[in-house]
Subunit: 388 residues, 2 copies
Amino acid sequence: MTDVRIAGVGLTKFGASPERTGRDLFAEAGLDALDDAGVDQDAVEALFYGNFMGELAEHQGHQGPLMAEAVGVDAPATRYEAACASSGVAVAEAVKNIRNGERDVVLVGGAERMTNLGTAGATEALAIAADDLWEVKAGMTFPGAYALMANAYFSEYGGDQEDLAAIAVKNHENAVPNEKAQYQREISIADVVEAPMVAEPLGLYDSCPISDGASALVLTSEAFAEEHDLDAPVSITGTGQGGDLMALHDRDYLARSPAADEAAAAAYADAGVSAADVDVAEVHDCFTIAEVLAMESLGLFEVGEGISAASEGKTTREGELPVNLSGGLKAKGHPVGATGASQLAEMTSLLRGDHPNSEYVEGATTGVTHNAGGTVASAVVHVLEVEQ
Amino acid sequence: MTDVRIAGVGLTKFGASPERTGRDLFAEAGLDALDDAGVDQDAVEALFYGNFMGELAEHQGHQGPLMAEAVGVDAPATRYEAACASSGVAVAEAVKNIRNGERDVVLVGGAERMTNLGTAGATEALAIAADDLWEVKAGMTFPGAYALMANAYFSEYGGDQEDLAAIAVKNHENAVPNEKAQYQREISIADVVEAPMVAEPLGLYDSCPISDGASALVLTSEAFAEEHDLDAPVSITGTGQGGDLMALHDRDYLARSPAADEAAAAAYADAGVSAADVDVAEVHDCFTIAEVLAMESLGLFEVGEGISAASEGKTTREGELPVNLSGGLKAKGHPVGATGASQLAEMTSLLRGDHPNSEYVEGATTGVTHNAGGTVASAVVHVLEVEQ
C-alpha cells in the first residue's frame, strides 16, 4: 500500500465575499494548491470535491465537473456531500483511490458560498443537515441542537459557560497571525459570556460564523512524489469515517459522539498510532462545546475532562497539546464544504513549519484532524505525519 | 484484487408517489436488496448513496446517515452527487472499497423524490445539473440542451425524428412486463412524432418522465459471498468514470460524449473485455437522442450508426444487441439519484435469468450499464458478468 503524500495546499481567505461564486473561490484554492505542489493541471487524474449547500446558495448542483473546469483540470470529478464533513469525506475517498493504485495524483478540496444568503437564510440552509421531518420542522436549527448537547454535557460531567468561553478566546488568539482567518482579532472571556445569547448556554461568540471560502490539497502517491522530486514531507497515514443516527432524539447520548469515536479509532488503527502520539489537533468547533466533544472522541482527553482543557491552558498554543492553531471554525471561519480539507491544509503547514503558528509545535511529528457533519451523524478523522 | 459480487438487488416501483418521502422509498429498496441477498443489516459495513435534488425537493441534505438509519444500517454513510449519475458514481466508489479490501459487504443505491415539485418545479430543479451561470440563467433547461445535441447529430450524421421515435417505441415495449416500470404500455411511432413538441426535434415521448423511486444493491467481496454461501452469480468486473466540461458552449462537439467514451474505455480495460463482448446494455436514455450517443460511446455502434439501430431492429428485444430491456429511463422512469444503481439492478436480474425480459438474453454473459450526469459532463460505465 502506497504512502499518500500531501504535495500542496491552497486556501482562500475565509470570510464574507458574497460577490464571489463558488467556482471563483475554488479556482483560487485549487490553483494555489497545484502551485504549492509544483504539479501541473495535466497531471491531475481526478477531483474529489466537497460542497454542501450549492443547490440552495447558488442554484448549482453537479459541481464536480464545474469545479474541475474552474481549475483547468480535465479529469473525472465527483462531489461528496456529508453536511459540514463534505470535504473530509472527499479526502477519505481520495486517499483510498491513491492507496489502491488507481490514481497517482488527485486534487481534493471543497468550497462554499454562504454569506450571499444572509445570516437567517444561511441558518435555514444549514438546517438541511439535520432531520428535516423530525427536527427542522419542529423548529430545530444547529445552535439549538448544540445547546442541547452542551446542557447535557454540563449536566453529566460539569463545566460552565466560562469553560466554553476559554475555547473561543483561545481560538481567536490563534487566528490573529493567520491571514486566511475570518477574524484576526482577540476576544476576552467577558466578551464571550456577555455576548447576546443564541441558544442557552451558547452565545454569539460560542458560535462559528457564516463564511465563504475554499480549500484544496494535491495528494500524490509516494512513487509520484519521489519520481518528480516533490517537496512533500507530510503524509496522510490514517483515515477513518463514522456514522450515527441523524436525529438527536434517536440517540442514547447527547454529550458523546459515537460517530467520531468510531472514526478516530479507525484512523488511529489505520495509522498505527494512538491518541498518546498526537502532538497537535485541528477539530470541528462549529460551537465551543463541539471542540470538547471532538477532543474526547479523539481520546486526547478522558470523557468529562475536555471541558476544562482550554481554561486550564492545556490546549492553548503554549499548552501541551495545541488544538485549533488555525483559529478553528470559530475564528478562522466555516465555509462548510471547504472546512474538512482546510483542516488538513492547516495541519500540513503546521507540520511542514511554514504556518504562522508553527513555532508552537516545533518538533511535532503527528497531527490529527476531526471533521463532523450535522450533530456528528457523520465524522471523519485523519492522521498526518511528517518526516523529520 | 477481489471479485465484486452483486449479492442482492432492490427496486421500488418507479412512478409518481409524491406522498412518499425519500427515506420511505430507500428503506423499501434497501430492505428488498438485503432480503434478496440473504444478508443481515448488521453485516453492512458502509452505505454509498446517490441523491441529486434532496435539498430542493425535500429540504434535506446530509442524506447519507439518514438513509442508513432508514434501512437500519449502523455504518458510515456517504452521499454522492453527480447529477443524474449520482448512484452510478456511488457504485464506482463502492466497488473500489471492496477491491481495496477495506469492506466486505456494502449497500449502495440511491433515491429521488421529484413529483411533489410538479413538472415545472422538477424541470427547474433538474436544471441545476447544468451551468447555472452561463446556461440556466440564459433560459436553458435539459430538453433544450438535448435538442441542441440531437440537431447537431442530425446535421453531422443524418437521421430523423422517426429514428428517434423507434427508440421510444422499443423502450416502451420493453417496459410492459416490468412491474417496476412507470409506463407499462406500448406506444406507436405515430404517438411519438405527433406528440406535443418539447424542444425541436424532441417531443413529449422523446423525453423521460419525472419520477419518484429508489434502487439498492448489496455488493460483497468474493470471499464473503463464498463463505456465506450466497447465491451471487453476477460480478462487477469493470468500472470507469469520465468527466467533461460542464457547459455545452465550451465543448468541441455537441453530438459526441467524450466523458462516456472515457468511462467506457476505462471500464472495458478494467474488465478485460471489449465492446464486441457485450451481449446486452442498459444506457442513459433521458431523451431518445441520449441512447444513440450512449451506444456510440460504448462502441456498440460506430459513430453515426447508432441512430438507426432501433429503427433497424438491432437493439429491440429480439435484436442482436438488446438495449434497455428494463424500459430505460424513457419508460421505466428516471428518479434521478436512483437511476445509476437501478441500471445495475436490472442488469443483474437480466443476467441471473429472473427478469421478465431475461428470455431475450438467454446465454448472455456480459452486460454493460451507462449512466450520465447533465449533458454527459459526468459519465459512469460498469461491466457486469455472470457465471455460466
